[in-house]
Amino acid sequence: MSSIGTGYDLSVTTFSPDGRVFQIEYAAKAVDNSGTVIGIKCKDGIVMGVEKLIASKMMLPGSNRRIHSVHRHSGMAVAGLAADGRQIVARAKSEATNYESVYGEPIPVNELAGRVASYVHLCTLYWWLRPFGCGVILGGYDRDGPQLYMIEPSGISYRYFGAAIGKGKQAAKTEIEKLKLSEMTCREGVIEVAKIIYKVHDEAKDKAFELEMSWVCDESKRLHQKVPDELLEEAKAAARTALEEMDAD
């Protein structure tokens, strides 16, 4: 896929002759190795879902949260090195509370995305820091409505209707593009996200996974929270039936 750096990839402060910084690209590879993370913007909110690959049967379901609330109105789903992700989430939480204590209103999502992106980018500027090995999908609902951002290890941050990172991101992106997001409510979005994650999960390579989903929408009173249990079960059931129908063909 990509050429080996040979000499230009030892430090994040070195450019290669063709203008690439290899360390950042290697960091992106760490993200590609993790379970798929999807975010979509529906007409009344954001839905995020994570394919949590279960490393061991001894793990308690519901532990190792991959989606974290950053403030009342926004949350982050993390893909890649989990410990790096925790650091980014901690920084985002602190930026959000700091903004509110200074300006008296919840931090606008685009402002938060900019700050997180700056922080991630910071770690690509010095030789004594390594880039974050994780990508983040940030979803929030502020005065300007629901917004979805994705921040990559390079520090790039764009606003999206639908975003996917991790192992199955290509397949997931294709599926998301098929959806009519502007007409979908978050309730329907939850079912669709579950279906996509079940679909892109590779049964051969990774056995078990746990589906973790969160939303921020009018129905959740614009608060970021885990998708309610009954809706989550409904989504999982719909996803399993959809998968069986596909296999039956």
Binding site: S69, H71, R72, K93, T97, S101, K226
Partner: protein, 221 residues
């Protein structure tokens, strides 16, 4: 926070505190709220406070909410310096926010909030820079009722009925005589109204607001 340049020419606590002593000590409260009265009833807590904030003896602000709900389970009422109360509300806001962000099915109950407030008040008092408030913290969690009080020097206790300020002298004797376990909501309201009436006559209350919290509905305003 009230700050006054106090010129103390002889040595004393001001000298020993160091550079911050010259401009970081609360000496007098300026805009104050008067009593808060609260009692436990059958299903939860009833709390009453007036809606006035005085500037000395002038009734300066006439629709101040001196009771706020904290999280899902508690009610906080405060008397004393209103600006310090607002600062306490900011601390609690951040506390509850971080608690909610765990999103793990647990939430801080009245006992925990009361303990937190006691720590805050006591630590400030130790720095000779108190938050000039008497706080009443009541709530219900998992069917358990809780009612406690914290003073500005960090004294805290739990009881079946509490009052701050003048309420301690005027309302509590009434409560001691007439309070009993398993008061109904209506009886509790009547009892509080009786206390507030005495405070109206004797402490020049304006108009009071009643707040209740029970295990079913959570805080009602």
């Amino acid at each position: 926070m009230a700050t006054t340049m106090v010129k103390e020419n002889n040595s004393g606590p001001a000298q020993l505190l160091g550079p911050e002593s010259a401009f970081e000590r609360t000496l007098y409260p300026y805009v104050t709220g008067t009593s808060v009265v609260a009692l436990k009833y059958k299903d939860g807590i009833l709390m009453a406070a007036d809606m006035a904030a005085s500037y000395g003896s002038t009734l300066r602000y006439k629709s101040v909410e001196r009771m706020k709900s904290i999280g899902k389970h508690s009610l906080l009422g405060a008397s004393g310096e209103i600006s310090d109360f607002q600062e306490i509300l900011r601390y609690l806001d951040e506390l509850i926010l971080y608690d909610n962000m765990w999103d793990d099915g647990n939430s801080l109950g009245p006992k925990e909030v009361h303990s937190y407030l006691t720590r805050v008040m006591y630590n400030r008092r130790n720095k000779f820079n108190p938050l000039w408030n008497s706080l009443v913290l009541g709530g219900v969690k998992n069917g358990q009722k809780y009612l406690g009080m914290v003073s500005m020097i960090g004294v805290n206790f739990e009881d079946n009925h509490v009052a701050t300020g003048f309420g301690n002298h005027l309302a509590r004797p009434i409560l001691r005589d007439e309070w009993h376990e398993n008061l109904s909501f209506e009886d509790g309201v009547k009892l509080l109204e009786k206390c507030m009436r005495v405070l109206l006559y004797r402490d020049r209350l304006l108009w009071f607001e009643l707040n209740s919290i029970d295990s079913v509905n959570g805080p009602l305003v």
